[in-house]
Symmetry: C2
Subunit: 252 residues, 2 copies
């Protein structure tokens, strides 16, 4: 069989993926079509046979790639019917919490942000440990209050590894969120969460429009990317009004 019977132009060559295996390139091909919106949620993607013609790989190779994506929940496959882009599971797991902006917009509400502070600082032992960088390293520090229809719903107290996001300080966080900017700097590889119930201190109470001593949910989240700790955030939520919820399938 001629592997390039349709065309000598092979679509599997977007952006320096030379080191990837064929299966991985097929995977990236599919994912990029989905991310770009070319293949929207729920739409049917080309059949295995068509992808064979299109990409010049054997059907088994393509089958395995699609099978993996299906196992990960990216695609839905139905024998006899076709392969479809799976609907984005919105609230699957709070560990996969979408950014707060998307959440608020998704509820049809207005999202605004106050930037309380945004500065580079020399890391003390605590913040250095948190980011796993040497003490004395410069780190970025931001404190923001997120509002939904002008009501404060989250304090975001974040330190950022400058090596990961050197442009972090130059962004305008009234129009974009730190999360959005950070996502551009590298793929999210791992997330760590710690959740605690704490009491609002004077500062938090004032910012969240609570009384001192009200219960507050503290979510500490660290994210790994490109092999380093990219950022560590402390997210304070008013515990009475807000909760973190998620549902997930159980395997095994």
């Amino acid at each position: 069989m001629n592997r390039h019977s349709n065309s000598d132009r092979n679509p599997l060559a977007e952006g320096g993926n030379h080191a990837l295996s064929l299966g991985q390139r097929i995977r990236q091909y599919v994912l990029s079509r989905i991310d770009s919106g070319e293949w929207p949620e729920g739409s049917r993607i080309p059949s295995e046979a068509k992808l064979v013609d299109l990409l010049g790989a054997s059907r088994m190779t393509i089958h395995i790639a699609l099978r993996d994506l299906s196992a990960e929940g990216v695609l839905l496959r139905k024998q006899g019917a076709g392969t479809f882009v799976a609907p984005r599971r919105h609230q699957s797991t709070f560990l996969e919490l979408r950014n707060i902006h998307a959440e608020i917009i998704g509820r049809g509400n207005l999202h605004t942000t106050n930037v309380l502070s945004l500065e580079s600082q020399i890391s003390d032992l605590a913040s250095a440990t948190e980011l796993n960088v040497p003490p004395g390293t410069t780190v970025f520090h931001a404190v923001l209050v997120h509002r939904e229809n002008d009501r404060p719903i989250q304090i975001e107290d974040r330190i950022v590894n400058p090596q990961f996001a050197p442009e972090f300080m130059k962004q305008d966080y009234t129009t974009t969120t730190p999360n959005e900017h950070l996502m551009e700097n590298g793929p999210l590889e791992e997330v760590e969460h710690v959740i605690q119930a704490v009491l609002a201190d004077a500062s938090n109470a004032s910012l969240l429009e609570l009384e001192v001593g009200d219960p507050v949910l503290l979510l500490r989240r660290r994210t790994w990317s490109r092999g380093m700790i990219a950022t560590s955030a402390r997210l304070y939520h008013p515990g009475m009004r807000f909760s973190l919820a998620g549902r997930m399938k159980v395997h095994r």
Copy 2:
């Protein structure tokens, strides 16, 4: 090639799995060896070639099955070295929280339980909604305090769907946990979590040896099994001393 060159006895036939595909049976074979302890954590399992001889399936079929289990984190595979049983990820995701008994034992501490109440009751609207059963149905209700080295660390306030676990009331929860009993009644299919920060009321404060008004983490957990809501639990943790932590890999 003779698929049964070693023996006519095929190990892939344990307990009514006639309807399963060969790949699924290989999967079950591996999982049951792990669950039974025959292949302990960290141990090396037979190579693909040996499994070919042992199970009579082709290498590709076995490879795919092991590959899937590797993707799910059950196995670890290293090219050139072998396939190993992955260490049980203890704190991977708090959504997969092991039962509290295993956690405490795992820390080398003593776990004791006080049963404060254990009764069947007619469900009111709230509890009926929680379990998705008709109001007026009989449901089981248990309240327990878990202690680690005699220090109270969790209040478990649980309602149970009798249709799921009819023997729930007959268990001795000083020697077993509700969770353990429930696990025997069916496979866990789905879990829903809601986390909130609340203030300890008089009852909670007394049970957890806190002051009234101390912050408490409330974890509400509902589990689905055999197509119904099996149980709904309210788990109270002292928020200052305890937190829920988890780390997970991110896909896509």
